[in-house]
Symmetry: C2
DNA sequence: GTATTAATGCACTTCCATTGCATGGTATTT
DNA sequence: AAATACCATGCAATGGAAGTGCATTAATAC
């Protein structure tokens, strides 16, 4: 029983071949992926299965959703210490306008945002757009 | 020739009845609206016309687009001094989880965001979610 | 091994965004 | 003012993503 299966077991998720494949796919990628990305990687699998698998992962806090402003929902594995289920967690994502990839900058925390009186802040979504390290030739 | 017509003229936009109506509609609203919102306000008009009108306004920097994470694009009038065409402008929007309205907080600037070395920041999209002043009973 | 429960696959639906083309209106030229 | 060019509008249709219902198949529990 490998690590992924242990993780699934600890979250009460049934271990299936498809889920293991999808998990491994996400783990290999350093970037956030769309449903279509996953779909293209697994021709045999049905889109609904992928969709529901991701939704399951989301519920169990294995992946988190990213809205990078492209209009298409992306997903990325939660890292150790990723508190994306906690409302006060402050996500920071970087979207490259050149290669169109979105990266989780988990070690970059978002500063406290002030809101006007009467407003209650529950969650903050911050997406920085620009050119990533690969594309800038750094 | 009133102010709106002057504005249109200064941006090389032809003055039409529909455009004036849409502009006035946006001006009355204090919140960001979806295409459907506009559609509902003008039963007679075709969806495409509204869509293209908004796109024209966007090109001419009369409105700016907001992605508040609901998956539906919203639009709001650019205010005086709204530099939404300038890449370094930092938008701040508030989305109420209760009434589902999105508000432009143009007077609340976003602090400088640090990105890792090699990354070039061109634009920042920040959406704070929570409860707005109306819904919090402030 | 049988029963229970959950995962998968297929078909279908809905919603928003977007485009092509014909038509009608606005501005420009002579 | 008539003719022309240019742009706005409306209709129809498309595409893409998200989501749901149901029957089938696979995984766990007894």
């Amino acid at each position: 029983m490998d690590n992924i299966e242990k993780l699934f077991a600890s979250k009460n998720i049934r271990v299936t071949a498809m889920r293991l494949l999808i998990y491994k796919f996400l783990a290999e990628k350093q970037i956030a992926v769309t449903l279509s990305d996953i779909e293209n990687a697994f021709d045999k699998a049905d889109r609904t299965t992928l969709y529901r698998t991701i939704k399951t992962f989301e519920e169990k806090v294995i992946v988190h959703q990213i809205d990078d402003g492209t209009g298409i929902t992306k997903y990325a594995l939660c890292e150790k210490g990723c508190n994306c289920d906690i409302e006060t967690d402050l996500h920071l994502h970087f979207h490259c306008n050149n290669c169109n990839e979105t990266i989780c900058l988990t070690d970059h925390k978002i500063p406290q945002i002030k809101v006007p009186e009467g407003f209650v802040s529950e969650n903050v979504n911050l997406v920085v757009k620009g050119i990533c390290d690969k594309c800038s030739g750094y």
